[in-house]
Amino acid sequence: MTPQLAIFFVLAAIAVLGALSLILQRHPIHSALSLIVVMIALAGLYLLMGSEFVAAVQIIVYGGAIMVLFVFVIMLLNAGAEERTNVSKLAGVAGIPLAVALLGFLAAAIARSNEPAQAGLQSGTLANTKEISMMLFKDFVYPFELTSFLILVAILGAIVLAQREKS
């Protein structure tokens, strides 16, 4: 087993355990912290694949911004442990077989795919970030500008939605 494979299995185990913990924890703040663990593990996997730019963005935007927003809202609303009801048992009965079936289909598709059986991922060339930025500002410049507009709309939407009613 090469060191890369060992690191992959450790990080994959951390990610899967974090996702399981997200499901099993009853309190939303514990779920949020589990999700942060998953995101950090995924950032490590991106580094392992040699995409250091995506790893940095993952930590800064997902771990730093989005999850802080989640934790902030959980604390603002003072969210307590969730209650179990009959409907949630029904969701378990119907949902778990469906999710297992989905996973089976995905695994079968991956196993049958005629992806060329290459030796594996090349560890990244460090010019990767430069290549991404060239692509982002040349080939994808219109979608990139569109995302800035999307963020502007999202900011306005969040302000309009969350502001207090004037009496």
Partner: protein
């Protein structure tokens, strides 16, 4: 060297766990977090394919997915704050005004 299929299987497992969390959890914030988990699983598949084929398109898409996820989190959490203020509850079963 880690085979690409390992990354894809991990991505599928994380997506499946996200689906389980989505149907299983009753707290609207946790349901929202499971959507983020599914988006992360898709991002992993994007980066794995991008590195396997030595093309950077996939990583640019990941950047767009992250931007959309951030916008979605901002608007979605605004909606959650609004419903929590109106209904005094975060349980999705208590938000059933459109049900017959």
């Amino acid at each position: 060297m880690v085979p690409t299929s390992y990354y894809l299987i991990l991505s599928a497992v994380l997506f499946g766990l996200g689906v389980v969390a989505f149907v299983f959890k009753r707290n609207v914030i946790t349901i929202f977090m499971s959507i983020e988990l599914m988006l992360n699983a898709v991002n992993l598949a994007f980066v794995a394919f991008s590195q396997a084929r030595h093309q950077s398109d996939g990583q640019v898409f990941v950047l767009f997915v992250i931007v959309v996820a951030a916008a979605e989190a901002a608007v979605g959490l605004g909606i959650i704050i609004l419903t929590a203020r109106n209904r005094q509850s975060l349980n999705v079963e208590r938000v059933d005004l459109l049900k017959l």
